[in-house]
């Protein structure tokens, strides 16, 4: 419907490419530094719209990238936590998505480089995340801030919200979760058809990440696995997931639990899409559709600010 520039690849072609990523980068047999380096190299392939500016700055002592599109950035800010199982990934993995969102929703997108496991296990990432959220809330006010995250970043975003809620602090205007990893204690091998269909994640890699981040005892804690917490009192949620994703049940269970708790949860499911497909706008039509929804969500929840 809307004018789209550039080439969109057929989903089947993208799927093949993404399978390479799964196999070559997110392999529990590889040392963490190798996985991180390979993932960064891959992330460079994702196109940035013309006119994007990227500034590096420290927010509350946490290094971050601030991405702004060509559209004049309004006061509104999206704080996005990148994915990577708490062990790999960087601002670069979400940069393409952030740039497109910034242009579509006239907002700046902050991508913090929170500390990664296994060098810095739980609660290091959460502490960094909370420090950044608190700083940004103080900057622009919580009503113009949307917190977001993909994969493990989604778990981090939700955990921060729960912390703020429990502390009685003002909450951001909304929260977007893209293919979020919300339960580190769940046995992913229990759903064999998802194991078969997922082209990005493997139960073995998720296990390795969970072990590195939270050891084996703390995995079911509510700030490590925020799906296991109560969800009442949260701001509006946008939950996006593909159906061919090992983590699809997390998105679905959160949607059910949050809306049962009276939270305004918007959950959309993309048939035959893989883990974190939403990070590939500009290449994949389904990701464009997800981005349009994210831009709508950001505008809708911050429009009163």
């Amino acid at each position: 419907m809307t004018a789209r520039r550039g080439l969109r690849l057929p989903a089947a072609v993208m799927r093949l490419g993404v399978r390479q990523l799964g196999g070559r980068c997110l392999d529990p047999a590889l040392p963490w530094p190798v996985q991180r380096a390979r993932l960064d190299r891959l992330a460079r392939a994702s196109p940035l719209p013309r006119g994007t500016t990227i500034a590096r700055q420290a927010i509350a002592g946490v290094p971050a990238e601030v991405v702004s599109g060509r559209a004049p950035a309004a006061r509104r800010t999206v704080l996005h936590f990148h994915g990577g199982g708490y062990c790999v990934g960087s601002a670069r993995t979400a940069r393409g998505w952030a740039a497109q969102l910034s242009a579509r929703a006239a907002c700046r997108v902050v991508l913090p480089e929170y500390r990664l496991a296994p060098e810095h296990p739980y609660p290091a990432a959460l502490e960094d995340a909370r420090a950044v959220v608190t700083a940004l809330c103080g900057d622009a006010g919580p009503r113009s801030l949307v917190v977001s995250g993909d994969s493990a970043g989604g778990g981090l975003a939700l955990a921060v919200l729960l912390q703020l809620r429990d502390a009685g602090r003002p909450l951001p205007a909304g929260c977007m979760l893209l293919s979020p990893w919300l339960d580190l204690a769940r046995d992913r091998r229990a759903v064999p058809h998802l194991v078969r269909r997922d082209v990005v994640l493997s139960p073995g890699w998720l296990d390795a990440c969970a072990r590195a981040y939270a050891g084996s005892s703390a995995r079911a804690g509510r700030l490590v696995s925020p799906l296991r917490a109560g969800h009442c009192g949260l701001p509006p949620l946008l939950i996006q997931a593909g159906t061919d994703d090992l983590l699809a049940p997390d998105a679905e269970l959160l949607a059910a639990s949050a809306s049962a708790a009276g939270v305004d949860a918007t959950y959309t499911r993309w048939p035959r899409m893989w883990h974190d497909f939403a990070l590939q706008p500009g290449l994949l039509a389904a990701a464009d559709s997800a981005l349009a929804q994210a831009a709508w969500f950001v505008s809708a929840v911050t429009s009163g600010s």
Partner: protein, 493 residues
């Protein structure tokens, strides 16, 4: 127990939906209709001379060709077709007639629609398919003194068969698609007919005639021949539609046809001049008739283009002060087409009312779903009317789409689906931008647009493009609610 589906309306849309549900093995449904019989607008309208503007081979469901007796089907034959469909598919027990729906309210907690019926009864359903059409509620003009008329008067869609028009003076208000058909019929019996015209219609010749026995034998024995004729009519309709949505220049052929039709049927240059429309062809509905122009030339018929000033006890007074006596007034003034679903009150998520959502004019994603109103589907909804092709072709696409949605609800174990606000907005801005190039927004006043000129009724592209868009249900365009509650143990705070 709530029904799985309630279908509102037992016209072409409702019956088609019911058949599709049956065929898909969904038996837990009911079709309600406010009237005591099936047929929708074909049941409501019974004026003399009522036939369909679309040739019979195209004005039927693709899955059920019919032994039509004429090129253009008459009202009774269409009703017989619908009744035969009801009988063939055993839909009788599924019909609840004489039962209008006053209100529909979505209960988010239970994920059901609560329907309040006109008689105070209630129905519950997981999904609602609203097939009430666009042309169900007659529109009467706001002419001063309308109710002071002493004689009988009626709207063409509520024909009064008890009053004989033989030898009487009849005033007809309006020259739209209905008046075009009934004026030639009543002119044969009435003493005098005054026809009040606001703007002249484009009248194209109607290639109507009964099929010969030999032709019918060929159609019945070689179904492909009937199909080929269906395709021929469809392609002609697509050509007309292309003229409406792409460029009026494509209408050169139909314009030539209309000019020759007018010239050959009306010799008097004065009368002919008053029959020339002052807008681009297609901006208002194009009509087909061989006896409209000849009727106007009858000595007992007068075409009046002077506006009506007011109506008095015994007749009509024109703006120029001329009073014309009338025994009977018949309004052929069309329908409240812009008020989709009215007077039904519909409220969705967070108690949002449809009237509010549609303040600036009705809109829906693909004409089928409305953001904020989960599991609520419309057939022949906003922007799915056509100026040049068969609505049944559109209905079949919509029925397939709704069926896809119902299947997805079951297969994906979803309590409800609700079209994404951003998807609906993007669709509607496309509709509006595409409409700007169409003849409907070329500056006439018609029932296709709102008072401000926004196209709320017509599909602004070719018909096959619509079928392409609805070819399958696109779950990713919806926000969904999983059916099962969070399993125990995960929600303990």
């Amino acid at each position: 127990m709530p029904y799985r589906v309630v279908v509102i309306g037992a016209g072409f849309g409702g019956i088609g939906m019911a058949i599709a549900l049956r065929r898909a093995g969904i038996d837990d449904f009911v079709v309600v209709d406010r009237a005591d019989d099936v047929g929708g607008t074909w049941r409501d309208n019974s004026y003399p001379g009522l036939t369909c503007d679309v040739p019979s081979h195209l004005y039927s469901f693709s899955f059920r060709p019919w032994h039509w007796s004429r090129r253009f089907p008459a009202r009774d034959e269409i009703l017989a077709y619908l009744r035969a469909l009801v009988a063939e598919h055993g839909l009788g027990p599924r019909l609840r007639l004489g039962c209008g729906v006053a209100a529909a309210e979505f209960d988010r907690r239970r994920a059901v629609w609560n329907l309040t019926l006109d008689d105070g009864g209630t129905l519950q359903a997981a999904a609602v398919v609203c097939a009430v059409g666009q042309l169900g509620r007659p529109a009467l003009p706001d002419i001063p003194g309308r109710d002071s008329f002493a004689g009988p008067w009626w709207h063409s869609a509520r024909w009064n068969h008890d009053v004989s028009l033989a030898g009487r003076r009849v005033a007809v208000v309006g020259t739209g698609a209905s008046a075009i058909q009934f004026v030639p019929e009543i002119a044969k019996v009435a003493g005098h007919v005054d026809v009040y015209q606001r703007s002249a219609p484009y009248v194209l010749p109607k290639a109507d005639r009964p099929y010969r026995a030999a032709e019918l034998a060929v159609f019945d024995r070689l179904p492909l021949v009937r199909k080929a004729d269906r395709l021929r009519v469809f392609l002609y309709g697509e050509l007309l539609t292309s003229g409406f949505v792409v460029s009026p220049r494509l209408l050169a052929g139909p314009m030539l046809l209309w000019r020759r039709h007018l010239r050959s049927q009306i010799a008097d240059p004065g009368l002919r001049a008053r029959c020339i429309p002052d807008y681009v062809m297609g901006c208002k509905r194009v009509v087909f008739s061989n006896d409209w122009y000849p009727a106007l030339t009858r000595p007992n018929v007068e075409l009046i283009t002077e506006p009506i000033e007011r109506i008095v006890r015994d007749g009509v007074i024109g703006a120029d002060g001329t009073a014309r006596a009338a025994d009977v007034i018949i309004y052929g003034t069309g329908f409240k087409a812009a008020e989709f679903l009215a007077p039904m009150s519909v409220s969705g998520l967070e108690g949002r009312r449809l009237q509010q959502a549609w303040q600036a004019g009705a809109q829906a994603y693909l004409g089928i779903t409305i953001s904020g109103f989960p599991n609520f589907f419309m057939l022949y909804g906003p922007n799915t009317n056509l100026g040049g092709n068969s609505i049944i072709y559109m209905l079949e696409g919509q029925i397939g789409y709704v069926l896809g949605a119902l299947r997805a609800l079951a297969a994906e174990r979803l309590a409800w689906i609700d079209v994404r606000a951003d998807v609906q907005d993007a669709f509607c801005s496309w509709v509006q931008s595409a409409s700007r190039a169409s003849v409907w927004e070329s500056g006439c006043h018609s029932w296709y647009t709102t008072a401000s000129g926004r196209n709320t009724n017509n599909w602004p592209s070719q018909t096959f493009m619509y079928r392409y868009r609805v070819r399958r249900f696109d779950l990713a365009a919806y926000r969904v609610m999983p059916e099962r509650p969070a399993p125990a143990g995960t929600s303990a705070a």
